[in-house]
């Protein structure tokens, strides 16, 4: 999808604009790191780096050797996850920041076999287990369990 979208963190200190190509379907990740970070259910959607403009204060935390997780230092809103290879990587953005994303369909679940028993997502979307995802992404040396 190619349109301009604007999102905000809870306190409004951070504004994220997407002007161009992005995938209007959130994907869920159930790995332990994502559970610990969000507090439960991690969701993100992809936007190419050149389409994303960020204004406001951002705290970045390198949660592994290859990826960072960003949040607003004022209100704690979760903003994105992104590979650490400089400026070329796209953003896995948090859909909760964008009003338009509330009506988007779910794209996929990864680490589907690690989902909390209390969080089961229904539907015929794509699902991958921990083993399947890590086989496709050999740079992942192991998530926190």
């Amino acid at each position: 999808m190619s349109e301009t979208l604007e999102g905000h963190c809870l306190c409004g200190a951070v504004t994220i604009r997407i002007d161009g190509e992005h995938d209007p379907r959130p994907g869920a990740c159930h790995c332990r790191m994502c559970q610990r970070w969000t507090g439960g259910l991690f969701l993100c959607f992809y936007a190419a780096a050149e389409t994303v403009t960020v204004e406001g204060p951002v705290t970045r935390f390198a949660s592994s050797s290859f990826a960072e997780r960003a949040f607003c230092p004022k209100c704690g809103s979760h903003l994105w996850m992104r590979d650490l290879d400089g400026t070329t990587s796209g953003y896995d953005l948090m859909p909760g920041l964008f009003d338009a994303a509330r009506d988007w369909p779910l794209r996929s679940e990864i680490y589907a076999d690690c989902a909390m028993a209390s969080v089961r997502l229904e539907g015929n979307h794509h699902r991958e287990t921990r083993a399947e995802y890590q086989a496709k992404n050999p740079h992942i040396e192991g998530d926190a369990r």
Partner: protein, 142 residues
């Protein structure tokens, strides 16, 4: 009730609490923005002990609520009434999440289309929750 432990993503904040087996899912827009999209999943708890409390960053999004994350990694820790002990913690922090069930969903009119309702859980709307909140606040400030 039983003791459960947990920690944030970077390990700077750890929690230990006496916990039952119930979770409240909140679908309000504030919780969606704060967690990034999903409902805030609050595991009911009492006697919550927090280590690394200096790392906890709190934000007051309303006159009554306080939202806390780890200031280092951003992990969601809890929502509580300002000035009161936390009565729940984010379920994602817990080392052992077994046996926990969502028994209550609030602000269900903001639940996203792709997320099914939790069967058997009590459901309440934004209007119902705000009415309860006003009643609670009126009792606190006669």
């Amino acid at each position: 009730m039983g003791e459960r432990t947990g920690q944030c993503l970077c390990g700077a904040v750890t929690i230990r609490a006496d916990m039952g087996d119930t979770i409240q899912a909140c679908h309000c827009v504030q919780c969606q923005r704060w967690t990034g999209g999903g409902p805030y999943l609050a595991a009911k708890a009492s006697d919550v002990e927090i280590t690394g409390g200096k790392k906890v960053a709190a934000y007051h999004a309303s006159e009554w609520g306080e939202r806390a994350v780890c200031g280092t990694c951003g992990a969601t820790i809890y929502w509580r009434m300002q000035g009161r002990e936390p009565r729940s913690v984010a379920v994602g922090l817990l080392d052992d999440q077994s046996g926990l069930t969502v028994t209550e969903e609030i602000f269900v009119d903001h639940r996203p289309a792709w997320l099914p309702a939790w069967q058997g859980a009590n459901q309440s709307t934004e209007a119902q929750e705000l009415a309860k909140l006003q009643e609670f606040l009126a009792e606190q400030m006669p």
